[in-house]
């Protein structure tokens, strides 16, 4: 029996829109829309089920920029449910739900303890009249906190058996994300905390086992990059050790799947081959949004390209109404580039000339027609260099492929 147990979750991003989903049928859209809330409800359910002492939510519960009242109301309802089971909630706000940007001050019940500002403070968790744990943390008041907050964490009283730190931020070394409240691992482990409850990074990671330094990841994947199971950690701390159990909470998964259709001689075989890949329960059993990659006979696939939309739609129609539904929201054909793609650029022939030329130009002037278009400008995201490069590569591939695929028949 552990001395205290709690749930550690972060980055709920309740009701934040998903990225990269361009078209969804209504039922899937509804499921997508509710997925963050379903994950939250499951979190509450698990907390009650495991009879934890409290729940830690380490920032980014919702997005200020696109916040809906619904997100906060549902959050409040969840807290009320936890209150009914005497479970406390320790909550800090992060870079997405910083306190000054919150326009819906929904009042939470009194089992919720919110770190009020950017100063690291602590709450004491009492169990049966005795101080059991001190929980430290701070909330973002503004969109970004760039100071080294880890230095501010200090043990309050030696009398309290457990010290748990909540920190929404990232390692200096992690440059994939915006670096907020940066820290080095040693900054954390040098202090005598029993558990570092981190937030901000959506990919779950146990950075260190002893003492535990943990990113629980977000509770529901929201882009194709956030693939696989998502959830929270059920942590049990005792004087001797700490045990951490990952509890999946996601209501649907983003996943990539590759269908090998090289065995398909005819178009009609394609559907069942894809269906087989999609419904392969050994990979994942739950509801999924899938990005499908088709690999197989290049020429055949190109021949079928115009019918692929229909085939995918047929597959979707079959699998999207199951309890553990699947939906292919994007698919691509695996193109094997000519092996000597770079060599080709050296050639004196037209293709070589074309590749050389493409590498030398900037594509931006080609695109002003759209990106400077008055109406379109509003809704389009500005293109990054990477994206520009990607587009150029795609254009090159397209042209070389067309030029070399045998004369346009």
């Amino acid at each position: 029996m552990s001395d205290i147990s709690f749930i550690h979750a972060a980055d709920l991003h309740l009701d934040s829109p998903f990225k990269g989903l361009s078209h969804l049928p209504e039922p899937i859209f509804q499921k997508m829309k509710e997925s963050t809330f379903e994950a939250l409800n499951l979190l509450v359910e698990k907390a009650i089920d495991k009879q934890v002492d409290f729940v830690l939510l380490v920032g980014d519960l919702f997005d200020n920029e696109k916040q809906s009242l619904k997100a906060q109301v549902k959050l409040r309802n969840a807290f009320e449910e936890l209150k009914r089971h005497d479970i406390s909630v320790y909550l800090s706000y992060g870079n997405h739900d910083f306190t000054r940007g919150n326009s819906h001050p929904v009042t939470y019940p009194d089992n919720v303890f919110i770190f009020p500002d950017e100063h690291v403070t602590h709450f004491t968790y009492q169990k049966n009249g005795a101080a059991k744990a001190a929980i430290y943390g701070f909330s973002y008041e503004n969109r970004s906190v760039t100071t080294k907050k880890a230095d501010e964490y200090e043990i309050a009283s030696k009398d309290i058996p457990f010290h748990i730190a909540m920190l929404h931020g990232s390692l200096y070394s992690n440059t994939d994300h915006d670096v907020y409240a940066p820290f080095r691992l040693s900054d954390l482990t040098d202090k005598d905390f029993d558990y570092w409850a981190l937030g901000h990074i959506h990919q779950r990671e146990v950075v260190k086992e002893d003492p535990p330094v943990v990113y629980p990841g977000n509770i529901q994947g929201r882009t194709s990059k956030e693939a696989g199971e998502k959830g929270c950690y059920h942590v049990e701390l005792s004087a001797r050790d700490a045990s951490m159990t990952f509890l999946p909470l996601q209501s649907l998964e983003f996943n990539h799947r590759t269908a090998d259709v090289s065995g398909c001689g005819e178009l009609h075989q394609l559907e069942s081959a894809i269906l087989k890949t999609v419904t392969d329960s050994t990979v994942s059993a739950g509801p999924e949004l899938l990005q499908l990659n088709l690999s197989g006979n290049q020429a055949k696939l190109e021949e079928w390209e115009t019918s692929l939309d229909d085939v995918i739609q047929l597959v979707n129609e079959t699998v999207m109404h199951h309890k553990d539904w699947k939906y292919i929201y994007r698919y691509s054909i695996e193109r094997t580039l000519p092996a000597n793609y770079d060599e080709l650029a050296e050639g004196e022939h037209f293709a070589g000339e074309l590749l050389r030329h493409a590498d030398s130009v900037s594509i931006q002037p080609y695109l002003t027609e759209l990106y400077q278009h008055k109406q379109a400008k509003k809704h389009l995201e500005t293109m990054s260099h990477d994206e520009e490069d990607q587009i150029k590569q795609k254009a090159k591939q397209l042209l070389v492929h067309e030029l070399l695929s045998g004369g346009g028949e």
Partner: protein, 985 residues
């Protein structure tokens, strides 16, 4: 670069073949259709550029597992090297071996090929008749672009690509369009964006409303505090109003209290104690009164009884009478019993006498005297007479029997004497018997002889029949054989067999007849005397003997009988003497007791007994009758005494029975005794009563003393005064208690200061309280209304808030907007790719043209000149608005569309050759032509071959053909024959 040799280990139909390409720069490979020419070309491209696994699998030989081979190449820079590819080695990647013994990988090979890949190679360095076919199908308008494309790239699809890109771009977006996908997407996004903003605005009011609600809650709280205060005030007033009448009462009572003296002397609980004493005295007093009353009554009653009583002498006399009463009654009873038994006895006597059936009367009985011996005498007489009569009867009977017996014997004697036979007859019978015995022995002999003859005769008959049927059967059998065999001999044998059978039968028959004759001839003997006669004779002789014996016995018996008769007569005589003596004695008795005459002597002893009993009864009766007489006398005396008492008392007595009289006296006595008892009882009671009265008075004494002491304490003389004083004290105490109660009540209703104020006597007016109360009530109702109004407001706002909380519009729209935005971005990316591709293609085309086109055209013109038989001199590429043109010998320029099909073909070939030549300056790869000139006439073919031959100085040319004339025209020809091994001609 030149191909020197191809070693095919296995590829398509080719297995383990070596093809030599070293014969010269221009090679002609001849083979008939389906001889495997194309496969060789595919092998070369496979060796040079490799093939994806699928295509490799296609070329896997049917007969061999191997796929791959070697291609020996010659490069002017590095000399000879070998490209080796096998399907299963390095996934089909090439291994190259150079002459210096080094081996190199795929990359090395690609370096050598200088950016050439299979597709590019095929479009530039190999062409076939099929390519021309495409030109023929081309529409006129497109021909220009296609030819230009060919001029630039060797392939015709640049034009197609440009067209397709344009179409895609147009489908996706037009800056001023409405229909293209992105334009539509933009429109719907604008719409969503507007509604999203609307919803967002609505949601931002949440904060304001929430604050409003909070402010209202504060107001309500304040108002409620006020209301609370006012309600409390009203309540206090109500309480004062409630207290006022109570206070008035209290005031009144206070005044009353002044009327009572300060001190009232009275014993503690005086009245209660006094009453208690009285309570205890009262039953004692009443009991005493009852006792006194009773005593009087007792005395009165006792005296009354005494007066009523008679004089004592009367009672003494009556007592005497009653004392004798019992004796009298007993005597009466005895008398009655005696009379009854006398009657019974008289009846019994008469009865007895009647039974005796004699003439005796009961009166006579008294005269009869029976002495003790009489009984014995009568018994003796009876016995004697019976003895005599018995003896007499016996003798008479004996006499009769003897007489009868004598008669019977006499009769028998006579009968037997008459049945005896004569002497003569007896002798005759004896003789007859002797004769008969002699004849019996002769008959037995003759009967045995007859039986023997019968047996012989029977056996002979059976043998005869066997012989006859046996011979007949044999004969029949033989005849059948004879019929079957048709043989006379068997007929003969049959006849013979039959004859033998018949002869045998006849012999047997005769023998039997002889025996019969012998038997009938035997004589039968006859008898002289019959058996019956003999038996009769013997019986008669036996009977006669028996009769003689019986007769002698009867004679003996007759003599014994006569002796018996004599004895009997003797006995008769003695009997008669004894009889006469008895009769004498009997007569004597008759004289003495005449009544015996009527009684048979046999019953005399019994008669004696009965008579004696009757006499006894008679004696009893007489005794009792005398006793009765005595008793009657005594009773008469007693009755006299009683009557005398009645007379003395003057009571009526004549009609009354003795019993009534006695009971009257008895009741008189009883009455007297009762009264005496009562008097005694009353005396006792009176004494008891007196004792109790005294006791009672003793009991009452302490109570009386107690009472006196109570009165003493109160200082009163009488009980009345005592009680009055007690009551006064009680009233005063009650008053004080009531006042305390009221004070208590007031203190409960009122707060402390109010209570003190009121008791201290401040003047409080009811009207003032009423008006104060009314004012407060108005305040309360005003406050309540205010609160209600605010509550309503707050409820409205909260309803709004909760509606907002449950609304999903913003959330929903946000998600939709995001998705649609994603869609736009996705389309934008798609568009950007197409657009970029289009621009790059256009720019490249321009650059390339500037760079190579004049060169290509120059070389192509040379070919065109030759191919057209010098009919055309120049080719002009499209420029500005001008299309592709060619100039004829006579200087006239024609547009491509104006040329004949053949000329266009020649132009195509020229351009292909031109580009190939230009490119070969860098790449120097072998040029493979697959029957591209199949449609050319022999003159032109010859020309082109010459040209190629010329060209081959710089570039190896391999021409595959199935045309005989080309074969003949060519210098270096290799025969391709899949059956035979390839050789160089």
């Amino acid at each position: 670069m030149q191909i020197r040799e191809a070693k095919i280990h296995g590829f398509g139909k080719w297995v383990d073949r070596t093809i030599d390409f070293s014969g010269g720069d221009f090679l002609c490979m001849y083979g008939e259709n389906e001889s495997g020419k194309s496969t060789i070309q595919q092998f070369i491209t496979f060796m040079l550029f490799g093939l994806p696994p699928k295509k490799r699998a296609y070329y896997r030989p049917r007969t061999s597992g191997k796929l791959g081979g070697r291609l020996t190449m010659h490069d002017p820079d590095i000399g000879e090297f070998v490209i080796e590819r096998f399907d299963e080695v390095e996934n089909g990647d090439a291994t190259c071996y150079t002459t210096d013994g080094k081996s190199h990988g795929e990359n090395w090979l690609q370096e050598r090929l200088k950016g050439m890949n299979q597709a590019t190679y095929q479009s530039i360095f190999s062409f076939s008749a099929g390519d021309l076919q495409y030109i023929k199908d081309m529409k006129e308008g497109e021909l220009d672009d296609v030819l230009l494309g060919i001029g630039l790239t060797g392939s015709s699809n640049i034009h197609t690509i440009e067209k397709r890109l344009d179409a895609k771009i147009g489908e996706l977006f037009k800056p001023y369009g409405k229909k293209p996908q992105m334009n539509q997407q933009l429109a719907s996004l604008d719409q969503l964006f507007t509604s999203l903003n609307d919803y967002r605005k609505t949601e931002t009011t949440y904060k304001t409303k929430k604050n409003e609600a909070l402010a209202l809650s504060d107001d309500i709280r304040q108002l409620q505090t006020k209301l609370e205060y006012q309600k409390n005030t009203a309540y206090r007033i109500e309480k004062k109003q409630q207290a006022l009448p109570i206070f008035k009462e209290y005031h009144h009572e206070n005044e009353q209290l002044a009327n009572y003296p300060e001190q009232i002397s009275f014993p503690e609980n005086g009245i209660e104690r006094f009453e208690k004493l009285n309570e205890q005295l009262l039953p004692l007093k009443s009991e005493l009164a009852v006792l006194q009353d009773n005593a009087q009554t007792y005395l009165k009653k006792r005296d009354a009884i005494r007066n009523e009583l008679h004089q004592v002498s009367v009672f003494e006399m009556a007592e005497d009478v009653i004392n004798q009463k019992q004796t009298y009654l007993e005597k009466q009873k005895e008398l009655k019993n005696l009379q009854e038994s006398t009657q019974k006895l008289a009846f019994q006597i008469n009865n007895e006498l009647r039974q005796l059936n004699s003439s005796l009367r009961s009166e006579e009985l008294q005269t009869i005297d029976l002495s003790f011996h009489v009984e014995k005498t009568w018994q003796q007489l009876k016995n004697d007479k019976e003895q005599l009569i018995f003896t007499q009867n016996h003798l008479e009977e004996e006499q009769q029997q003897l007489t009868k017996k004598r008669d019977y014997l006499k009769e028998q004697q006579n009968e037997l004497s008459s049945s005896l036979l004569d002497k003569s007859e007896e002798n005759k019978l004896r003789e007859q018997i002797n004769n008969y015995k002699h004849r019996e022995y002769a008959e037995q002999d003759s009967n045995q002889q007859v039986e023997k003859w019968d047996r012989v005769k029977h056996q002979t008959n059976i043998r005869n029949k066997f012989w006859l049927f046996g011979s007949a059967a044999a004969a029949l059998f033989l005849v059948i054989i004879a019929l079957v065999q048709v043989d006379q001999l068997f007929y003969g044998l049959a006849g013979l067999s039959l004859a033998i059978g018949i002869a045998q039968w006849l012999t047997g028959k005769r023998y039997v007849q002889n025996i019969d004759g012998m038997m009938s001839a035997r004589p039968v003997a006859s008898a002289n005397i019959s058996i019956d006669e003999r038996l009769e004779a013997e019986r008669k002789r036996g009977e006669n003997d028996n009769t003689k014996r019986e007769l002698s016995s009867i004679n003996g018996q007759l003599r014994a009988n006569d002796m018996e008769i004599l004895k009997c007569e003797e006995k008769q005589h003695s009997l008669q003497v004894r009889l006469s003596r008895l009769n004498e004695q009997i007569s004597h008795q008759y004289e003495q007791y005449p009544f015996l005459r009527q009684i048979d002597i046999a019953y005399w002893p019994d008669f004696f007994q009965s008579l004696k009993y009757a006499l006894n009864l008679e004696r009893d009766k007489a005794e009792k009758e005398s006793h009765i007489e005595a008793l009657l006398e005594e009773n008469r005396q007693f009755a006299e005494t009683v009557n005398k008492f009645f007379r003395d008392m003057n009571w009526e007595w004549s009609n009354k029975s003795m019993e009534d009289k006695l009971s009257a006296i008895e009741s008189l006595l009883d009455d007297y005794r009762n009264r005496m008892t009562m008097i005694t009882q009353y005396d006792n009671w009176y004494d008891e009563n007196a004792r109790r009265q005294h006791h009672m008075k003793q009991k009452m004494k302490p109570y009386e003393q107690e009472k006196a002491s109570l009165l003493n304490i109160a200082g009163t003389e009488t009980e009345e005064a005592f009680l009055k004083q007690g009551k006064r004290l009680e009233e005063k105490e009650k008053l004080i208690a009531r006042m305390t109660e009221r004070r208590e009540h007031l203190s409960q209703i009122l707060q402390k200061e109010e209570y003190e104020m009121m008791l201290s006597g401040e003047n409080i007016k009811g009207e003032k309280l009423d008006s104060e109360y009314e004012r407060t009530a108005t305040d309360i109702s005003r406050l309540e209304q205010e609160i209600e109004r605010k509550r309503q407001q707050r409820a409205d706002i909260e309803a709004d808030l909760s509606q907002m909380e449950s609304s999903e519009s913003y959330s929903d729209t946000l998600h939709r907007f995001t998705i649609e935005q994603e869609q736009l971005n996705k389309l934008a990316e798609e568009w950007a790719v197409y657009k970029t591709a289009k621009e790059i293609l256009a720019e490249t085309k321009r650059n390339y043209r500037n760079k190579y086109l004049s060169d290509v055209i120059e070389r192509a013109t040379r070919y065109f000149h030759v191919l057209t038989g010098e009919a055309y001199t120049d080719i002009y590429p499209p420029e500005d608005s001008l299309p592709f043109r060619v100039q004829s010998r006579d200087g006239i320029r024609f547009k491509v569309g104006e040329l004949s099909k053949g000329t266009v073909d020649q132009l195509y070939v020229s351009l292909r050759m031109g580009i190939s030549e230009v490119m070969s300056e860098r790449h120097r790869l072998p040029f493979i032509i697959d029957d591209a000139f199949v449609h050319f006439d022999s003159k032109r073919t010859k020309r082109i071959l010459n040209l190629l031959s010329e060209l081959s100085a710089d570039q190896q040319i391999i021409l595959f053909t199935c045309k005989q004339d080309i074969r003949e025209t060519s210098a270096n020809v290799t025969l391709i024959d899949p059956v035979k091994s390839v050789s160089i001609s």
